[in-house]
């Protein structure tokens, strides 16, 4: 038996365990009206308090596992969104929160808008709603974690395909 493999397997398991138990999220507004951002704040602050589940908002993308992105991507925000995404360490996951992040919403076709988030970066979980309720956002994160747990092997470094993403239904 290869001792190196045993060691890396064990390490991967520890990493997965840590990631599942405490995903760190960075929040990015790529052109949202702020409605979704306020729901994300409600999710993080004591009313819903996801930190008790280990989900922590992390200021720097360099320390984050999950990018929670809201709003359509404006022409001006496109480069910044890409930069934030590229600064995140692998493996990284993206949750698109709100109708605009999914399709561009009411801003689709506007002169200053590129479109939805998956036109710019790959998205793992879509949370629809305008804005989605905090329960829906939490459900989105849980679905993402479930997906990670379901994956037997740790995620390959390649970017996830958006077509495999799960859609979370808004309970509201």
């Amino acid at each position: 038996m290869n001792l190196d493999k045993v060691f890396t397997d064990a390490l991967d398991q520890v990493k997965l365990w840590a990631r599942l138990n405490s995903p760190w999220a960075v929040h990015f507004n790529s052109g949202s009206c702020n409605g979704c951002d306020i729901e994300i704040l409600a999710t993080l602050t004591p009313r819903y308090d996801v930190e008790r589940f280990g989900i922590k908002l992390q200021g720097s993308p360099r320390h984050a596992d999950v990018l929670i992105c809201t709003g359509p991507v404006t022409r001006q925000a496109r480069e910044r969104l890409l930069r934030v995404y590229e600064q995140m360490p692998e493996p990284k996951f993206v949750i698109a929160v709100g109708s605009c992040g999914i399709s561009g919403g009411v801003f689709d076709g506007c002169y200053n808008v590129v479109g939805c988030i998956d036109k710019v970066i790959p998205v793992d979980v879509y949370v629809p709603g305008c804005p989605p309720r905090p329960e829906a956002i939490i459900d989105g994160v849980v679905k993402l974690l479930g997906k990670l747990q379901g994956a037997a092997a740790p995620k390959p470094a390649a970017a996830p395909e958006s077509s495999k993403a799960e859609v979370v239904h808004d309970p509201a």
Partner: protein, 164 residues
């Protein structure tokens, strides 16, 4: 505090409207009243600076906004609206300029905070604001093409991307 007497409010508004008319009377090509408490004063671009000066020196209200208006390709004109507010009264100075080489003078020497409005006017409508202190781009995206003005009626329309 005693509640405002509606009659007094009305009197005050009418006095304000009257004073605006008196101040602007000599420059106005036409004065319209589109709504109660509101007058639209049509000016030529040459009279704009002097009209704004008289409003400022008379201390009549404050500049609330500058609006650009594309009144259609066929008309061959663009319009710039300077909204001044005092109390419940709004006085709008309307200036029509040709679509070809549209230009209005800057009013930043009289009202410094008009700077942002004028920059937006330049970027969104392609109107040259002569002598504005900072004519560089501010609002449109860095990769926005030169010579395309998004709020003009003939601006190219971006097709929606909604998937079936």
């Amino acid at each position: 505090m005693t509640p405002l007497d509606p009659n007094q409010v009305k009197e005050r508004s009418e006095a304000l409207l009257q004073s605006a008319k008196t101040v602007l009377g000599s420059w106005a090509a036409a004065i319209a009243a589109p709504a109660p408490n509101r007058i639209d004063v049509t000016l030529t671009p040459d009279d704009l600076e002097r009209a704004v000066s008289t409003l400022v020196t008379a201390r009549w209200g404050y500049l609330a906004a500058i609006t650009g208006l594309d009144i259609g390709v066929t008309s061959g004109m663009l319009e710039v609206l300077y909204h001044f507010c005092s109390d419940a009264v709004i006085v709008t100075l309307r200036v029509q300029i040709p679509r070809e080489n549209p230009a209005v003078p800057s009013i930043c020497d009289k009202i410094p905070y008009a700077d942002l409005y004028e920059r937006e006017l330049m970027e969104m409508f392609g109107i040259t604001v002569t002598n504005t202190p900072s004519p560089t781009r501010l609002f449109v995206a860095e990769d926005w093409p030169e010579g395309v003005f998004p709020l003009r009626k003939d601006a190219p329309v971006q097709e929606p991307t909604i998937r079936a």
